[in-house]
């Protein structure tokens, strides 16, 4: 079992992660926080009516970490939260694979719920990741870069 390390709030990795291990790290030697809220994002098998067969995630090394650190800093300024962990996978992923994890602890649940959603909403619109989907349409396989969604921008704007 890894030891909890406050400096390791952000991880950009090709490897999968274990939800159980991440929750254990958030809880380890942490008896002041009564709430642990986690979100896990996974690869869907469909998008815009097309069958998705795989996904590739590209990122901007350096800026990704800086952007996520800034989002976490803002969350800590807005809510009384304890530990935060953000994991985002990159590279080739298959259907059902885990892509992203956000875990937040707090004394009471409201802060961790709100901060977790805030981090996800801002990650969606400001962290430099790009998804490329492999889709099958009428038996033909093609690769498409995903278009950004207005609804994601609207969700992030709710917090400002």
């Amino acid at each position: 079992m890894k030891k909890h390390n406050n400096l390791a709030e952000i991880s950009i990795q090709t490897d999968d992660f274990s939800l159980a291990d991440e929750v254990a790290l958030l809880e380890q030697d942490n008896l002041t926080d009564g709430a642990v809220v986690t979100f896990t994002g996974r690869v869907r098998n469909h998008n815009n009516g097309n069958a998705v067969t795989a996904l590739t995630l590209e990122h901007y090394p350096g800026m990704t970490e800086k952007s996520l650190a800034n989002i976490i800093k803002q969350a800590k300024e807005r809510w009384h939260i304890g530990r935060v962990k953000v994991i985002h996978r990159i590279g080739e992923l298959s259907i059902g694979d885990q892509i992203v994890f956000v875990g937040v602890t707090s004394k009471h649940r409201q802060d961790a719920f709100a901060a977790n959603e805030f981090i996800m909403d801002y990650l969606k619109v400001s962290a430099p990741f790009w998804k490329k989907e492999k889709i099958t349409n009428a038996g033909k396989i093609s690769e498409n870069w995903l278009a950004a969604k207005d609804s994601d921008n609207d969700k992030a704007k709710r917090w400002s």
Partner: protein, 82 residues
């Protein structure tokens, strides 16, 4: 020199991930865009996409942001992570 990098669909459309520019000719991010558009029609058309985002030294910035030698300037499409 200024290091210019491109990502995702933009990188593929341009067929270019990275290039260096002399800092003398440019003051802002928009100046860099204008200079890149002069390369050829393909670059001009690609940069006509108004939804493109820009960053300087890993911070998202607007077109009027000032640039200096040694900066890393990035152009990319709206992000789609999570």
């Amino acid at each position: 020199m200024i290091n210019v990098v491109f990502f995702a669909a933009l990188r593929e459309q341009l067929g270019c991930a990275q290039l260096s520019l002399a800092a003398d000719d440019v003051k802002t991010v928009d100046d860099i865009k204008r200079l890149l558009c002069e390369k050829n029609e393909q670059w001009q058309q690609t940069f006509a996409n108004t939804s493109l985002l820009s960053a300087v030294n890993h911070d998202m910035v607007d077109g009027d942001h000032l640039v200096k030698p040694g900066d890393e300037v990035a152009f990319f499409p709206p992000v789609t992570g999570g």
